[in-house]
């Protein structure tokens, strides 16, 4: 595996009319990395991908491939290949002809083409399907042909634009694992675009969370989930309780926040703040605890609450409690004991203590 960056985007802007589809994005993607761009539709992830592929040219800024600027190089001169969302398999060509297309364009000798096409089809477990037409294949098989067609060219970077979107859930899970395994085997840099957070967390080495044309946070799955740098990221990845308030006091690494209605909380800082800043305290539902008895050694955040609603979903129980006035807070308890005893679970209207340690609450800006 080579060192350094496969793709660098430097302050890239793409404007369509009045809208900045990509708004001053800077990111570095390492060689051999499985990198995901994650965000809701319209966040600029697909436009970024299309600029790397060469279907769009940046309005400003620069994109480098292996250290060389490729701003306005047409797609057919970039050693980058794409797996399209709809696969875009050529319907008038057989599977083998589809896979051979890129090699033919590069004027690879006939004999080599045949061998490499066979290898590529073998790699995606489609040996023997070469003579079929794309429409005679299932969705999952078409997906694998699209992969083979791109990988056979040995690109520096493989771009994948929501390639699993059209598959059903079970196949999707299988393909996630297969894609990851394939990437580890060929060692090519994968840039994967998706709006599905679970997909991104499962497969990626690093993730860029995008919204409204900006890359909000770039980091490993653990970093993104455990240390989101803003409210949007915490909200988009997984679930979280948000309590709005102002910073009333600061100490080393943590802050005290009051919501203006008598609630005072303490949470961990992820960025420097000053007293009076408007912030959100973010607490993941599985990182808070609910107990009948008052904890012996009361942590910084502890509140007396009433259970409002209980949903039993098998692996865990999701409890909504009333915290202060008119505020619902979600707590998840893992069902570690196997029992059908009604008393073992929380009931509506019960009183309890809600608490979490300081490090489980993050103080985030909007």
């Amino acid at each position: 595996m080579k060192d350094g960056y496969a793709i660098e985007m430097r302050d890239v802007v793409k404007r369509f009319g009045e809208v900045n589809a990509v708004d001053h994005v800077t990111m570095e993607i390492r060689n051999g990395e499985f990198f995901s761009m994650l965000g809701p539709s319209g966040c600029g992830k697909t436009t970024s991908l299309r600029m790397i592929a060469g279907f769009e040219y940046p309005t400003a800024g620069e994109i480098l491939l292996n250290g060389t600027p490729i701003g306005t190089t047409p797609p057919f001169q970039r050693n980058v290949n794409t797996v399209f969302q709809s696969y875009a398999l050529f319907p008038h060509m057989s599977v083998a002809e589809n896979v051979a297309f890129g090699l033919e364009m590069k004027k690879v000798p006939r004999a080599d083409i045949t061998r490499r096409v066979d290898e590529a089809l073998d790699m995606v477990r489609l040996s023997g399907y070469g003579e079929r037409r794309p429409r005679q294949l299932s969705g999952g098989q078409q997906q694998r042909v699209a992969l083979a067609r791109a990988l056979v060219n040995r690109p520096d970077v493989l771009l994948l634009d929501e390639p699993l979107g059209a598959l059903d859930l079970k196949l999707r899970k299988e393909m996630q694992i297969e894609l990851k395994r394939l990437q580890e085997r060929v060692g090519i840099t994968f840039i994967f675009v998706t709006h599905d957070q679970e997909e991104a967390l499962t497969m990626s080495d690093r993730i860029a969370v995008m919204s409204e044309g900006k890359a909000l946070q770039i980091g490993t799955p653990t970093e993104i989930y455990e240390r989101p740098n803003c409210r949007f990221v915490a909200d988009f990845i997984g679930e979280s309780n948000f309590i709005r308030g102002r910073v009333s006091d600061l100490s080393a690494g943590s802050a005290t926040i009051s919501d203006g209605a008598g609630l005072t909380l303490r949470g961990q800082l992820v960025q420097p703040l000053t007293v009076g800043d408007e912030v959100y305290v973010s607490v993941r539902p599985e990182k808070a605890r609910l107990s009948v008895q008052r904890p012996a050694d009361p942590p910084a955040n502890m509140f007396q609450v009433t259970v409002d609603r209980v949903s039993y979903i098998g692996s865990d129980t999701r409890i909504m409690v009333q915290l202060g006035q008119d505020r619902l807070f979600s707590v998840w308890e893992q069902n570690t004991r196997s029992t059908v005893d009604r008393d073992a679970y929380w009931q509506r209207g019960e009183q309890g203590y809600l608490w979490w340690p300081v490090e489980n609450a993050l103080v985030l800006k909007d």
């Binding site: 279907f55 057919f76 875009a88 050529f90």
Partner: protein
């Protein structure tokens, strides 16, 4: 008035009367439709039938003969006209298919100022009454020939060339409509995929775009060919003395009387048209 009838749901108690009424309506609709097909096909069947009769007035079935068809082959005037018609159809189809395909690509692939105007210019030949277009072309050629004679002194006349020019002028629009339809259904991502795999624009067009819209182009060409072959009105006004075309020849003879020989030539023209329809349907189906 006829109403939809297949949708009524059976309700056990009152079903019988409702069902009876429904059936009665369906039967009526079926009878009407059957009569319509008789109306559409009876004249064609009669025409074909009476091209084989021995009756020289061509209106009674007195016996069976092929002689009218052999007489067609001996009629040099008719054969010459047929040859002219075929030439016009072939040349105008080739030129209008090329021009029409280029225009369709421009209209579907580009946004430009004046595109709406071009759209109108393309649709007008289809909706305008054929006779108005024919007369306009007649006046235009006379007008231009007059100018040319004033300048160069040479006298030009209506000929097969003027017919071909006119046929191209109305065929282009039909080709454009058909080819545009096939471009509309075209997935542009296939072209992106080709470019992504290293094909330049020229290679992308010939390897991906062209093969995929070819059925549309062939469909457009067949339509242009059929229209040109069958056209009477525009040919009638834009052809010159001495250059006859098959529909004009048939028209001239028909005006005189009904004869089995015209029945025969008409039957031949019918068979050719129907073969072309079947062919174009086949091409369209291949596409799917």
């Amino acid at each position: 008035m006829i109403e939809a009838s297949s949708q009524s749901q059976a309700r056990p108690a009152t079903a019988t009367r409702a069902a009876a009424r429904t059936n009665w309506r369906t039967v009526l609709l079926g009878v009407h439709s059957a009569l319509m097909y008789v109306f559409l096909y009876a004249p064609i069947v009669i025409l074909v039938l009476f091209s084989f009769t021995t009756d020289s007035f061509g209106a009674r079935l007195t016996g069976f003969t092929f002689s009218w068809y052999t007489k067609l082959l001996q009629d040099e005037r008719l054969m010459g006209a047929a040859w002219n018609t075929l030439t016009v159809a072939l040349v105008s189809t080739i030129i209008s298919t090329i021009i029409g395909t280029l225009t369709a690509l421009a209209m579907e692939r580009y946004r430009f100022r004046g595109r709406t105007g071009m759209d109108a210019l393309l649709y007008l030949p289809i909706v305008i009454p054929e006779i108005v277009m024919a007369l306009a072309l007649l006046a235009f050629f006379a007008f231009m020939f007059g100018i040319i004679q004033n300048i160069t002194g040479s006298q030009l006349k209506m000929s097969l060339t003027t017919v071909i020019i006119s046929h191209i002028a109305f065929s282009i629009s039909f080709v454009v409509v058909v080819v545009r339809a096939s471009l509309k259904g075209f997935d542009r991502r296939l072209e992106e995929a080709a470019r992504d795999l290293g094909a330049n624009e020229w290679q992308t067009f010939w390897r991906i775009t062209f093969p995929l819209i070819l059925p549309g182009i062939i469909g457009g060409a067949l339509l242009a060919f059929t229209i040109s072959l069958d056209d009477f009105i525009i040919s009638f006004f834009t052809t010159g003395p001495g250059t006859s075309l098959l529909p004009i020849e048939v028209y001239a003879q028909v005006k005189r009387a009904v004869t089995p020989k015209i029945n025969a030539i008409s039957t031949v023209m019918l068979v050719i048209s129907m073969t072309l329809v079947a062919l174009s349907q086949f091409v369209q189906r291949q596409r799917r």
